[in-house]
Amino acid sequence: MTSVTPPPNQLLQMYRGMVRIRKFEEKVYLLFLEGKVLGTIHQYQGQEAVAVGVCGALRRDDCLTSTHRPHGHCIAKGVSLDSMMAELFGRATGCCKAKGGSMHMGDISVGAVPAIAIVAGGVTLAAGMGLAYKFQHNDRVVACFFGDGAVNEGAFHEGVNLAAIKQLPVIFVCENNFYAASTPMQLTTPVGIAERAAAYGIPGVVVDGNDVAAVYQATVTAVARARRGEGPTLIECQTYRTVGHSRGDPGAYRPKEEVELWKQKDPIARLRRSLIADEAATESEIAVIEAEADREIETAVAFAEASPPPQPEDALLHVYGEQVTA
């Protein structure tokens, strides 16, 4: 397995990618408190390196499936912030025309399949997508994101098993943040996640999910394997969400020391430090990136606020495939 360290300018792009996610989520949190973002949100702060690292190794025509915590994946894959913000505001210009909401974000035109909020629900779908690519003789791959809780769902087993036996081009990415809602892994999972890959005869690797370069490298390897037709890989990215499971969750079930420890390992701070230390970027370049991200998000908020809500009767549209305009 060759080690592929991303070159400095690529790392800077990854830094930018993580900052966009962080600032988007922080803004969304504030808007949620103001009542402008509706429903519920499951936020991604702390896990940015996984989304950015994985998507950095994907082509635009590769796809990903996501979960109830999809904002980071969507942003990293290239879904427009305008359309995401508008979706959260429940406007007709949202990426799902206000039909999906936070938990079903996506835009298939950039390869982000609208997210599946059923835990492990995307695993069998990803296997099917890989099956389609095999039939179509293209070398596209699917990155399938799911959390630590998902590995105990029947669908996980069936989907990974099918992908393994049929050698489907899927990269199964487990974002292990050690808690499934409030339940810690040690209460539910007798065998580690990456170890389970052996049960399917596929490679399983553990990476530091807060090291964007490490995530990237592991993904590059898995993608190459998949494109060669050798089948799926299971990548366990160990990370941590620095916020609650969803809005309104103070996370009292996690020891404070643990939370503090992981905050020290924040992926964005880490990368900033190493970029500066390696002189791959200056403070002012970092500042520009951050300011650009802020502006982009302000624009997205303005776009969302100016967008019209959908017509009530639009609720009757798009039940059947005949109405799919794409």
Partner: protein
């Protein structure tokens, strides 16, 4: 506010118009008075103008379509407004404005059962074709009508498409039943029974519809009394041969001679009946019931007596069949048993006349210029003055009187 674009009713006799061409298309802005489409009627070609300003949407009929007048062929909405989607049968994909559905291309249809959803008017048309005469009424209305003897054909429905509903079976025209009768001290209120209600409605209807006149005459009943006595001796099982039986025979004979009274007013004309069926008013516990003796002119008094006895008994027991209570062409009512002489019977609708018979009573009479004891009976004939005038009615009554006084004429 969406405004329908209607094919105007310009006095076409055919009641429909053909769309020749649309002058505007969906999405176009239109001003009041602007021509939207050209239609052809059996009278002329004309333009249909916009009655509101806005944006044309929801065009439902294309060039060549033939539509009834007052059909909404499109709608004008305010700029920025969207028209309400028309109701669709569930399961069908909603068709977005301007977007064509692309169902999979069927190459050949299998035997079709009918396909698209017919509207309610079409369904009622199908129903009437197969089940003519069926009234449109809710199950509850039917039950209430049956309970009170109300004929649904007499009721106008106030529900959708003319459906008769519960509230229509209780309208004032029919005889309102107050849901909360007022209490009056020193009295009590009882609702109408089914029979009472029927009688009330029929009597009121008769009174309302037919201008009625009653003629009376007094006849010498001696010959009739002697005839009856003779029958009672010479006919077996005739001990209870009644005057009523004889009057039935007499009335039937008179009707055979003067058929204009064996008739009724109907649909702006007069319906004359070939057969003579005489209804007999029978007093029962539940109320007045009128069983019918069919073809009374062709039956002998003995048979009439037997039928009368049977019908009266079953009438009191509530065991008459519907066909025995209907079809009468003339009614006879005898109140002689109650010492009534003259009275003004009400015509039994829809018949044309009714004969009331009073008591047969001993009275002083003048015969050959001498005062003698005799027997008389008062006959009261009420007739529908729309049907006949006083003259013919009087002649009819006079003939009855003659037959009463000279019953031997019955076999002449």
């Amino acid at each position: 506010m969406a405004v329908d674009v209607l094919i105007p009713n310009a006095g076409q006799t055919s009641g429909e118009a053909t769309i020749l061409r649309w002058l505007k298309k969906p999405g176009d802005s239109v001003k009041i008075g602007e021509a939207l489409l050209e239609v052809e009627t059996d009278k002329a070609t004309m333009e249909v103008e916009a009655t509101a300003a806005g944006v044309l949407q929801g065009v439902r009929y294309e060039t060549g379509a033939v539509v009834p007048v007052l059909t909404a062929v499109a709608v004008i909405v305010e700029a920025g407004e969207r028209p309400k989607p028309p109701a669709r049968p569930s399961g069908f994909p909603f068709k977005e404005e301007g977007e064509a559905l692309s169902p999979p291309a069927p190459i050949r249809h299998a035997r079709r059962g009918g396909g698209a959803q017919p509207d309610s008017g079409d369904l009622l048309a199908i129903m009437r074709a197969h089940r003519p005469g069926r009234a449109l009424a809710s199950p509850l209305a039917r039950a209430l009508a049956a309970d009170t003897g109300l004929a649904l054909t007499a009721v106008t429905g106030s529900g959708p498409r003319g459906r008769i509903m519960k509230r229509d079976t209780q309208s004032e025209a029919i005889g309102a039943r107050p849901s909360q009768p007022t209490t009056e001290p020193g009295s009590r209120w009882i609702p109408f029974s089914a029979t009472r209600r029927t009688i009330a409605e029929r009597m009121a209807a008769s009174w309302r519809e037919a201008p009625q006149v009653t003629l009376t005459t007094e006849a010498d009943a001696e010959a009739l009394a002697r005839l009856r006595a003779q029958f009672q001796i010479d006919l077996p099982d005739a001990d209870d041969l009644s005057y009523t039986d004889l009057f039935v025979k007499i009335a039937a004979a008179a009707l055979r001679e003067q058929p204009q009274l064996n008739a009724r007013v109907e649909d702006g004309g007069i319906r004359l009946f070939d057969a003579i069926h005489i209804g007999l008013a029978v007093d029962t516990e539940r109320g007045l019931v009128v069983p019918v003796i069919r073809e009374a002119d062709r039956k002998g008094v003995a048979q009439i007596a037997r039928e009368r006895r049977d019908l009266a008994e079953r009438a009191r027991g509530g065991r008459l069949r519907p066909d025995e209570l209907s079809g009468g062409t003339f009614t006879l009512t005898n109140l002689g048993a109650f010492e009534i002489d003259a009275f003004t019977p009400i015509v039994n609708p829809p018949e044309g006349a009714v004969l009331g018979v009073g008591r047969i009573v001993k009275k002083p009479v003048v015969r050959d210029d001498e005062l003698r004891p005799g027997m008389t009976v008062v006959l009261s004939l009420t007739f529908d003055h729309r049907l006949v005038d006083g003259g013919p009615a009087a002649r009819f009554l006079q003939r009855i009187k003659t037959l009463v006084e000279k019953p031997h004429l019955l076999i002449a």
